[in-house]
Symmetry: T
Subunit: 155 residues, 12 copies
Amino acid sequence: MTTVKSTLPDLARQVTGDALQDTLVDLLGLSLIAKQAHWNIVGPRFRSIHLQLDEVVATARSFSDTVAERAAALGVSPDGRAETIAATCGVTGPKEGWLQDADVVRLMVEALATAVSRLRERIATTEGSDLVTQDLMIQITASLEKALWMFQAEN
Amino acid sequence: MTTVKSTLPDLARQVTGDALQDTLVDLLGLSLIAKQAHWNIVGPRFRSIHLQLDEVVATARSFSDTVAERAAALGVSPDGRAETIAATCGVTGPKEGWLQDADVVRLMVEALATAVSRLRERIATTEGSDLVTQDLMIQITASLEKALWMFQAEN
Amino acid sequence: MTTVKSTLPDLARQVTGDALQDTLVDLLGLSLIAKQAHWNIVGPRFRSIHLQLDEVVATARSFSDTVAERAAALGVSPDGRAETIAATCGVTGPKEGWLQDADVVRLMVEALATAVSRLRERIATTEGSDLVTQDLMIQITASLEKALWMFQAEN
Amino acid sequence: MTTVKSTLPDLARQVTGDALQDTLVDLLGLSLIAKQAHWNIVGPRFRSIHLQLDEVVATARSFSDTVAERAAALGVSPDGRAETIAATCGVTGPKEGWLQDADVVRLMVEALATAVSRLRERIATTEGSDLVTQDLMIQITASLEKALWMFQAEN
Amino acid sequence: MTTVKSTLPDLARQVTGDALQDTLVDLLGLSLIAKQAHWNIVGPRFRSIHLQLDEVVATARSFSDTVAERAAALGVSPDGRAETIAATCGVTGPKEGWLQDADVVRLMVEALATAVSRLRERIATTEGSDLVTQDLMIQITASLEKALWMFQAEN
Amino acid sequence: MTTVKSTLPDLARQVTGDALQDTLVDLLGLSLIAKQAHWNIVGPRFRSIHLQLDEVVATARSFSDTVAERAAALGVSPDGRAETIAATCGVTGPKEGWLQDADVVRLMVEALATAVSRLRERIATTEGSDLVTQDLMIQITASLEKALWMFQAEN
Amino acid sequence: MTTVKSTLPDLARQVTGDALQDTLVDLLGLSLIAKQAHWNIVGPRFRSIHLQLDEVVATARSFSDTVAERAAALGVSPDGRAETIAATCGVTGPKEGWLQDADVVRLMVEALATAVSRLRERIATTEGSDLVTQDLMIQITASLEKALWMFQAEN
Amino acid sequence: MTTVKSTLPDLARQVTGDALQDTLVDLLGLSLIAKQAHWNIVGPRFRSIHLQLDEVVATARSFSDTVAERAAALGVSPDGRAETIAATCGVTGPKEGWLQDADVVRLMVEALATAVSRLRERIATTEGSDLVTQDLMIQITASLEKALWMFQAEN
Amino acid sequence: MTTVKSTLPDLARQVTGDALQDTLVDLLGLSLIAKQAHWNIVGPRFRSIHLQLDEVVATARSFSDTVAERAAALGVSPDGRAETIAATCGVTGPKEGWLQDADVVRLMVEALATAVSRLRERIATTEGSDLVTQDLMIQITASLEKALWMFQAEN
Amino acid sequence: MTTVKSTLPDLARQVTGDALQDTLVDLLGLSLIAKQAHWNIVGPRFRSIHLQLDEVVATARSFSDTVAERAAALGVSPDGRAETIAATCGVTGPKEGWLQDADVVRLMVEALATAVSRLRERIATTEGSDLVTQDLMIQITASLEKALWMFQAEN
Amino acid sequence: MTTVKSTLPDLARQVTGDALQDTLVDLLGLSLIAKQAHWNIVGPRFRSIHLQLDEVVATARSFSDTVAERAAALGVSPDGRAETIAATCGVTGPKEGWLQDADVVRLMVEALATAVSRLRERIATTEGSDLVTQDLMIQITASLEKALWMFQAEN
Amino acid sequence: MTTVKSTLPDLARQVTGDALQDTLVDLLGLSLIAKQAHWNIVGPRFRSIHLQLDEVVATARSFSDTVAERAAALGVSPDGRAETIAATCGVTGPKEGWLQDADVVRLMVEALATAVSRLRERIATTEGSDLVTQDLMIQITASLEKALWMFQAEN
């Protein structure tokens, strides 16, 4: 079977590939968490947060595609299957059932803070392995930190 | 906490809610399977199928939103979390790693056929419980059967 | 004067025509109620509900056009005049004057629930008289039930 | 309950508020009359006038929104409920049932001429009470006089 | 040669396939009839009906594509060739040469009435064989009945 | 009945009218052939050619409208009825049933080559009768020759 | 002062320049005639012809720009001043005052026929002086002949 | 013949009608002047002013349509024929032939200043005859004064 | 240096110029105040008011451009520099630092009420000096009064 | 009151916050300077530079929003009030009154050069405190340097 | 390997192919020349000509694509490689380094005049070999002559 | 003659300028190579790769513009003339004549790999001379590596 050759040496590819795979799973997890909240939220701020959550979904889906294709471009097969997300995603989501609006805000603040903190570590890690990937990590961080501010400002 | 009241009697709501929840999980699973193949496919028909898979993703994502909001509209909390998909999705996806193009076509034919077959049962089930939901099931079936034809025609 | 000939036999046309006329009046009434609330609402959730009400107006206006033209297409003259709405609309609106935001939410939940309940009866009625009209009733119901959920979730 | 404070002194607000309320009811009435004709017209000029009527509907709906929000902005609660339109609208509409195309043209000429004549009185009235509202009355008059010309030219 | 497998059992596929094939031919025939009239119409109502005919063409072409692809999706090869339309179309068109506007209106009323009447039989037939196809037949009927009303109202 | 007067003298109008009528029938035939292949194609290149065929359909439909209206503009009644296409179209289409992708390519090469060859004769013919019509024939030829190249390059 | 040099020899430039200047004046005159009728038409076909006239205005204005810039590109200063149009335009327009719809149709048929007849002479003239300009004359003729057909078909 | 009835009393209609007719002729004249300069300008600032002139053309054409339709709406037949413009337009245009860029700027400053000065008189005149028309004169003045500033700033 | 000549006499130009300059500074000040609040707001209504504030910014920026260009068109140099705004703006903004959502609403009600009150004086002032400028002042007032109502309704 | 928590440690946040605040003030100042020139410029290159200045305004406004929201996202309250800009902006603008085009070009070259020079220092400063903010500084610099080149090339 | 068959006889194909190949190289060369000037121009007319040059680039690129695909459609392999352009392009470009604006205008006048002159020869040549290709040459000539006029007018 | 002053010190400008010039030539070369393949490709995957190549052309053209304008912004005259590309481009293109589809894929893999390898060296080089330029090199690399993956995946 065809395999895609990497433009990076082996070690750099290993380090970069791990960072991309972990980011992929966090972003897919985040998109499912935000959709779950989008559908189950109740309370007086329903509409406003219902819409705000869909912006997080759009951001997370779009970056997950860029991240997975970046991995493929480096010769690393990305893994975004449901069982992989369930087993390895670093971000915690809600319990089942309806969710009060204030609880959704707290949940999203926590989830985004965790995702940002894990991304900042990968900015450091990829500095030495692949500057192109680091640049992508920086963009995702900027975007999630803006979303984090907006949910904090809702508190 | 607020709960959403149903416009359906209890039994009809139970039956309809189950059909919607199962459909939601199948569609979210299908969207993750098609994205996984979209990223990992290799072979001479790469570009053509790479694009075709993203149309399945768009269809599955769009209907999953309609289905989840229909459940909420009937007072049934939808559950689209990663662990729920991993545990209860009725459609089988690929192993990890790169995927040969011909294998992707076979995989999608099988996955779509399974999804259609499960939807047709729910068309029968919801006939007696909620005609509005049945109408939605019919639309999703029409759409997935068209996708199924296109992957069969690729064989 | 020209009259439009029906593609339905007389009895079916009578039953279907009544269902369409009643639906037309409910939808026009609903659009006026939602506009009245759109203009008179006050309170901390002003902006959010002000916008949400205009989506109900758009939905009701658009379906009222489809329903009236469906009646005409079946040879039944539709009646959407102000005095007919005032006399026969089945949905109850607000008193005159400013409306507190929480009262608007309660009012819309009640109005939409009434409209949906009346539509579900017409879905049953038109099953035997005209499947094309039944299909339209099903679509309107789905749309109003989604709006109903959203106002309930606001409570 | 919150009430909206006016930027006008009491007397000016009273006079201006009455002019706006009367205009609101005339415009909403006009939109229902034009829609009724849009649905019930028959005759060789069906298509042409069917479309022309919808332009009157769009104009009347759009200005009714501006007028009602102008009233609210001046601290006057607008009243656009079905029973208010049925009771106080100054413009006369059609009988129930199908309408011959030539009759529709005559009907619209009369309805628009009445609406314009009433608006011209309000332009005079609001000259002394609120120039901003007068400017709005002038715009509506210009628009309805153009529609009036077009229906006259159809004769 | 590859053949497309059906998701329906044999008998249901036979019945549904026949209904789709007959509809395809009627729609293609209707699109050619409406174009023929679009090009050959003369008389004082030329422009108005010239445009209205093109809306019928657009509707018929768009549905013919959906119908043919639905047949293919069920494993039934659709046949839309000129000789098949000429031999089996159930809708009657104009003689050759220029057409007076009033004659075009009468011709279209008759052609659309025939097409609708044939479609209503297929709605009954496909009730038992494939609800997805029935839903499509219902949509086409609604659309053609609206066009039929508009040409009747022109009379 | 009204007849459209020509801006050409009688002989030139006869020659030009024949060229336009023959082109109209060839283009309508071509659009039906390409649609038939669009729906019935199977094989590994399905998606790519399925899309490419629809571009031929769009081209043929658009030019058929221009050609027919050009005929009408010259006082010649165009004839694009199904029976006329079946009887006089110079381009040969497929048998009924599914079509292998390679066969579709061959079929389209042949059909387009025939259409181009017939058009080139008409470019010569209309040189003396109407330069405006000749210019239109030249444009259609350029467009079909580009399509012909693309199907040849697929071989 | 700067003057624009021509890419044509002197005689060809003279002949071509005259053809372009005459066409410019005819087109500007035609646009003013069609606008005059657009504003002054009355009668039952008001709306339909009111719109059709504006299409002639758009066509004439657009081609007048191309023609004038073509003249300039050949080093011939174009003259489109009001007094030049009044003095040299070859197309006859309406008297002052309101115009009955049937009279407008007759007027436009005559005006367009005159414009076409003059253009066909210039196609012959420019054959020998500049093929690029001839091609432009051919396009304008095709466009005006289509408009001529449409007004004839209205008769 | 049908005549359009005015919503103004006779004297007011006379005064207002004269103001509108004079404005119509000035605007049509201005659009022809600006186009003439657009085509004949030469010099280092060619492109910049060539584009700026077309903005004046667009403004003048758009307002001429509004003005003429306002006259018609008041029962006054507008006269925008070439001979009327040549005889009564109050704005002076260029000589024939190429125009140096600096001369074009001076010409446009003068033409726009004249047009504005004549409009300001009509603002005073229509104050007593029709406030709706006065409002239109005010808008045109604002727009032409802005264009006047821009050509002055070019000096 | 070039100076722009005014179409107004000296005194009228002085009065009108002052009104425009004061309005310019108020609008620029308002746009900075609304942006400051847009960035610093916190609290449960964050998102809703965050968006509403940006609509005020867009309105104020757009009108500031129209006002400044109107001044220039009258030969009055507009002054919108930061130091001028800081020194002469009549509208009071927030302290530095984060702002609670309810405080933002109060602040905007006050700022908009002040701006409206100052504009109403200028409507009176410009009545005698320039009706074109008065018309602009009226439009700005209408727009800010609508924004004022919306912030009052939020209380 | 709620305060937004930072994802950066205290010292890094202090350094990054200062860089963002200084950049915000420079960008807001630059937007006011460019608008002032946009309104007051006179001379032969008026139109060209008038348009070019508005591109600087759009760039500066857009980046000021990104910078202020980045500060908020890091828990630093941004300060963009008029008095702060007047007191602390590092970029020098024009005197009051009309501005000759060549002077505007010189002024903008100087203003942009200053802004770029100050940004390059902040690129160095934020290297050690926050790579995400540094990336933003780099983008702003690239954009302003392009604008700077364009004004230099005008010289 | 596949070769594309021509619809032209051998001699005609040779002549036409040469004309197309020469045109392709001239157009690609022209696009590189215009881009080089776009980047290196300095002087007071910088912005205006900088933009005008990009329109030449767009025109040249778009026609080069049409020309190359026309060659391929005739079975002639087009050659647009850098070395071919450098060796055979008939149009002369600038020296390296910055270019004064007046020099750019002279350069473009010369380059376009050369390109046009060479195209006019090919219009003559292809008259006898392929009218479709001749029509394309005529269109390109018209377009480049318009650009040539504009650069001449800049002189 | 005007020269553009750099915001970088001399040495940094030299190093950065060389990196930008080399990148410009590689990108222009790449765009010509991909166009050559776009026109000459034959074989079963014709259409798919024909389209994919045009995406590379669009990417290369767009980045070449950014790179050249970045050089100009730093005071370095960019050189993109045909002879410079032919002499110094580091990427190897195809021989003349038709190209088999599989050969095109191999060719593009090689060309893109070379371009990426050369860009990665320049990322290192510009780290010390200009971070803004380095950021641009990183973006180009990311984009070309994605294209490289896609052509590899085609193998």
